[in-house]
Symmetry: C2
Subunit: 452 residues, 2 copies
Amino acid sequence: MDLRELIERLPDGTVLTDPDLLASYRQDRALDPDAGTALAVVRARTTEDVVTTLRWAGAHGVPVVPRGAGSGLSGGSTALDGGIVLSTERMRDITVDPVTRTAVVQPGLFNAEVKRAVAEQGLWYPPDPSSFEFCSIGGNAATNAGGLCCVKYGVTTDYVLGMEVVLADGTVVRLGGPRLKDSAGLSLTKLFVGSEGTLGIITELTLRLLPAQPPQSTVVASFATLTAATSAILAITGALRPSMLEFMDSVAINAVEDELRMGLDRNAAGLLVARSDAPGEFAAREAQLMLEACEKAGATEVFSTDDAEEGEAFTVARRFAIPAVEKLGPLLLEDVGVPLPRLGDLVTGVAAIAARNDVLVSVIAHAGDGNTHPLIVHDPTDADNTARAHKAFGEIMDLAIELGGTITGEHGVGRLKKDWLPNQLGPEVMDLTRRIKDALDPHGILNPGSIL
Amino acid sequence: MDLRELIERLPDGTVLTDPDLLASYRQDRALDPDAGTALAVVRARTTEDVVTTLRWAGAHGVPVVPRGAGSGLSGGSTALDGGIVLSTERMRDITVDPVTRTAVVQPGLFNAEVKRAVAEQGLWYPPDPSSFEFCSIGGNAATNAGGLCCVKYGVTTDYVLGMEVVLADGTVVRLGGPRLKDSAGLSLTKLFVGSEGTLGIITELTLRLLPAQPPQSTVVASFATLTAATSAILAITGALRPSMLEFMDSVAINAVEDELRMGLDRNAAGLLVARSDAPGEFAAREAQLMLEACEKAGATEVFSTDDAEEGEAFTVARRFAIPAVEKLGPLLLEDVGVPLPRLGDLVTGVAAIAARNDVLVSVIAHAGDGNTHPLIVHDPTDADNTARAHKAFGEIMDLAIELGGTITGEHGVGRLKKDWLPNQLGPEVMDLTRRIKDALDPHGILNPGSIL
């Protein structure tokens, strides 16, 4: 493919073709072994750059894989041989409007950078994936990313009021805007959120913001059995609105404790970290109620603190679980969710799958919304172990579907989970999905092989 | 058209063909003068009835207009000559799950019935259109309805986690489910919310619920000028999260006072009713801050109360504004919204439009989210007055668009506003809308003439 036309139409330095650079854009964090190598990486600075790229790609039938920060965990940003990787990493503008409590952001900013910019105006952008320091806000919108605060504050789609998106043929459309209420026409903004770059490329987002989060009180509780831990979770969510309700199993507890030495109970089967951000002294009151719920459910150790720094240390510990468990070996990272009453069934089912396949699986969870991350440790140098790990990976998704859940709560389907999607959604919904995809991207150039 | 086949396939009593009954299903509350008369009204009891109707309609090319409670204000449920009205009024099941804090409801229940059923379990379904006593939950989803609580709690789409929907060809699909987080596939649930029956017919909704709302404190403030009132609104929304922030202009104040005699300030240019539902004594503290913001903005009278009944009386007064103003004459009911900083421009602009066209326009507003309801009083027996009223109706939408706003915040486009939709969205978004419509309803049998 002759790239000269594309290179000429874009500003200098926009198109990368150096093989070493291309190699670094082949995969996202899912490390899809089937990743190809792109013809070129376009590092757009403007919407116009995106338009130019899509028009060129459309004219030549070249697939385009959008990429934010490359932190995706489902292979939604996996380079294709003969395709273009369209990176939004250099689209980094942000404007905050404290009166309407909105921010207009370009997709390349990290989630943490958005949080910091709005915090300067006393505002808060809630969604907080564990990767918030290095995931892009555009990728967050593309996957409808979640995080730890979702149990009280919802997910990315709840904060996207509008967007600019470039369609497959290079048409630029503006959807929604800085209005909490807007019933004019179809809810297209919401359709693009979570579409993983298969319907268009988001070049700007209008985000809804909240006032700064009040200080949080924190509860930490250890349980000798998983049953006790899950019954504490249900007792808390049935009565209160925690601002965080996280779970780590014994493997994760020990892996974190090995690294951070903060005195976590190494003998516990499960640990809960719960927080309340109710105003003023209500945070402490809510924390006390959560602590009592944990005790009543049979917690072996409970601890609570109103100290922000101490509370944050436990949140950091929970966030650190993935890198800590990763020290045991490379991970296949699951993201399955179930309706809350089935959480216990999911956790025990995962343990059975791990035993049956003789692989180590650590379960951490955004427990309050039933979204778990079973971490399957495997050894890529051992073909048999790897095969068993992949088998467990699939069986965990089968289990989630069987329990009325989802194969992905917040990471997206990407390429890694697309074979399981029809089992969750059924043929009619897949057909509906295909009809929308074909209507918006008739030549199939946008992230082909993701979702569908 | 021979209806015998349809009548035979459906349970006895499902199909109405009596002309008097058909007449009562011709219009919704928008009273579209161009309404036709349906061939028949199908009062479905089950999803299967909806499937049967759509299959029959598809086979015969008969348009189908879905109808909830017929309380729509944009003519989205206007009967068509030769068409079917598909009423969901008899689909009234509800199941509440307090553990996952969700309810599965059929579309025919009134919003108030949903609220009452979940309140029995100590739960709360927030969206609260002023018509909540007589609007259906299915219609709420179809229009992405709002209400008074939206300033803090968002709109219908924020509470719809899943649905069952029957597509144009009679295919039944289940989307989403009782999971706060679900990134599996396109966000189809959100696409159907607000689609006004043009993409499918919603036969079941899975709604997210919150714990019961805490008791509210209430502030009432009168202002001598609209400028003072709007600056109080911005001061409040910029610093706090009121659970309600409503506005009435002098026409509305006097119309309400004529009916309710509650001592509202008849000389005021504007009245704000604001509430806080922060926990415990924080509600009173937040109310005090709102009261001070009103005073600082130049309120002529302020009043606050922690008494639930007294506070509710002012909320009822605000809700009563539409029927009260209606006593002055039939209304053309607007629903325009703007980004908050433009609210003052909108209110003064509406006054200029009223003066220029020599019609009486009263403005009430969900002020905290910039969503206003200019009520255009007109005299249908006076052709000239009616023409001027309709001219003002259009000019108000033009103004909202000019101010970066929307022609409808919460009522939907229906038939009454569709001529203005392209001016707001632009040709590219209209084309995108058309592509999705054609992909999902290729023969155009679902509510033709609404939105598009």
